[in-house]
Symmetry: C2
Subunit: 304 residues, 2 copies
């Protein structure tokens, strides 16, 4: 299977701590890199990965709170210094436009590449963009300001050739791609061998859902149903449920309930409040609801 | 002596590395904290110090290059979240005003304290501000954009009381402060004891000079003469002298020449280009010119 990895660069919330960086992660799918949120220090954390700047094509920003975007100026500048030429596409709520325009005007006059900002409608669930490898969908979240989650769905690959059948029928190499694409094969005696006999099905498509920041709401489950991995904010433990409600955040148990309802395969909790020295409390509260739950942490790479 | 410490939070240059953060340092003088430059990650590095946010009153920004200011949005926001109420004074070239205004408008609507921006004239050497403890002077530097160094000079303290003389003349406690302030003491028999007999001189005043970013120029030496510590950028080694000239930076040897000419007590090199895995080369080139040279590094605290 082609790599589909999630690299966690930061999973803290507004107040940085010695343990956590602000929100930032990088999705690696078939060699392409998509950054989701870009908290302060994103470029510094990136330096500790083996990811290649050149492969970063899109940045998805959930909302206009500093802990999700203050890494952007440095990241844009540094890629310029490193000689980037390929355009960079940034997607996020329109409220981010003045900030990005200011950074480009004040600090990026001689940037060697183009930055395109795409104002995302954070009120509807729709296809944001797609390419040969993936579809990226918006997930309208419910936070104090316009906020958008993202769902990244791999596109179906081609079926796998059954090497032993190809050998058996002595099918030439030039025909392989046609067979993978769905063409049957005709033997010298005129008999047709259906392509389904010559192949095994393509790998199942994988899906990643990023939901931060948001209060819990049941409608979300339908959009992220069966996702292989759900990253859901769990800013607070149950004892701070009132705060979670007041600030439009979620508790770990609420995140787990969404995961359960959506029947995702795995839940990763993140966006931790700085009040927890140890986030095990969040895991303890989530797992009774949804057992396959893990905690995000800086440096964690998850393969779907 | 009252503490006069320099805390290095970052001493890299434009491209961050695994070793160095972008420019940021904190000057601690008689309990007050002044930040000089605020590269990305400043607030994150601050978390690793024992410095108290509440004591930070001023931020001095040298120039409008991202590696000197991209930590500002996060720092301002975080102090707001931490409940800061005291005003914060930011000084820097006027070219920084649109960026700071944008950050305040877009992300700091409910900030609980005031941020005052003071556009500094980076073309003249003049007193920027003073209080009971210090004077802060501008140092007009020569960089590709308007750029300003800073000189922080401690104000003279009071002389020290000679305890044995006070006891000998049986001088009451209430008179001590007057004597420190320069009043003589009259004995019961009418004899005058001059205050200079009752005190030893105040501690010598100490001076710190921050010069980054700049190409070398001889006039600088007069403004920073006899400084206890000079932080001077040394972006390049001698082999990159052409680059240093092209980008209006200095080599380590050039920084050492300024230190020598200004007869400062100690030179600290910083603003290292990312090309050096090991900055010993810079030290090797500076010390033959000015022996009392050290390299800045993150986490280094220097007491003057």
């Amino acid at each position: 299977m082609q790599p589909f990895n999630i690299h966690i660069l930061g999973c803290g919330s507004a107040l940085p701590t010695r343990k956590h960086q602000p929100s930032c992660q990088v999705v690696e799918l078939r060699g392409k890199l998509i950054m989701i949120d870009c908290g302060e220090g994103a470029q510094l954390s990136w330096r500790h990965t083996r990811l290649n700047w050149q492969n970063l094509t899109h940045i998805l920003l959930s909302h206009a709170h500093g802990d999700h975007v203050f890494g952007l100026p440095g990241l844009i500048s540094t890629m310029g210094l490193l000689g980037r030429q390929a355009p960079l596409f940034i997607h996020g709520p329109s409220s981010l436009e003045p900030f990005i325009a200011c950074v480009l005007n004040e600090f990026c006059c001689d940037l060697g590449y183009e930055v395109h900002f795409d104002a995302v409608d954070s009120t509807s669930h729709r296809l944001l963009f797609e390419d040969r490898s993936m579809e990226v969908w918006t997930l309208p979240l419910r936070h104090r300001v316009p906020c958008c989650g993202f769902l990244i769905r791999e596109k179906a690959g081609l079926p796998h050739i059954r090497r032993e059948m190809i050998d058996f029928y002595e099918i030439p190499t030039w025909a392989i791609n046609n067979i993978k694409a769905g063409q049957d094969w005709t033997l010298p005696d005129g008999t047709t061998v259906p392509h389904t006999r010559l192949t095994t099905p393509a790998d199942p498509v994988r899906t990643y859902a990023y939901c931060s920041d948001t209060k819990p709401f049941a409608e979300l489950a339908a959009w992220i149903e069966n996702a292989d991995l759900l990253y859901h904010e769990a800013t607070y433990a149950m004892s701070e449920a009132t705060l979670a409600d007041k600030y439009w955040h979620s508790t770990a148990a609420q995140a787990a309930q969404i995961a359960l309802k959506a029947q995702v395969k795995k839940l990763m909790l993140g966006h931790f409040s700085s009040r927890y020295d140890n986030e095990e409390i969040l895991l303890t509260e989530a797992r009774p609801v949804f057992p396959n739950t893990i905690l995000a942490q800086e440096g964690l790479n998850i393969s779907l």
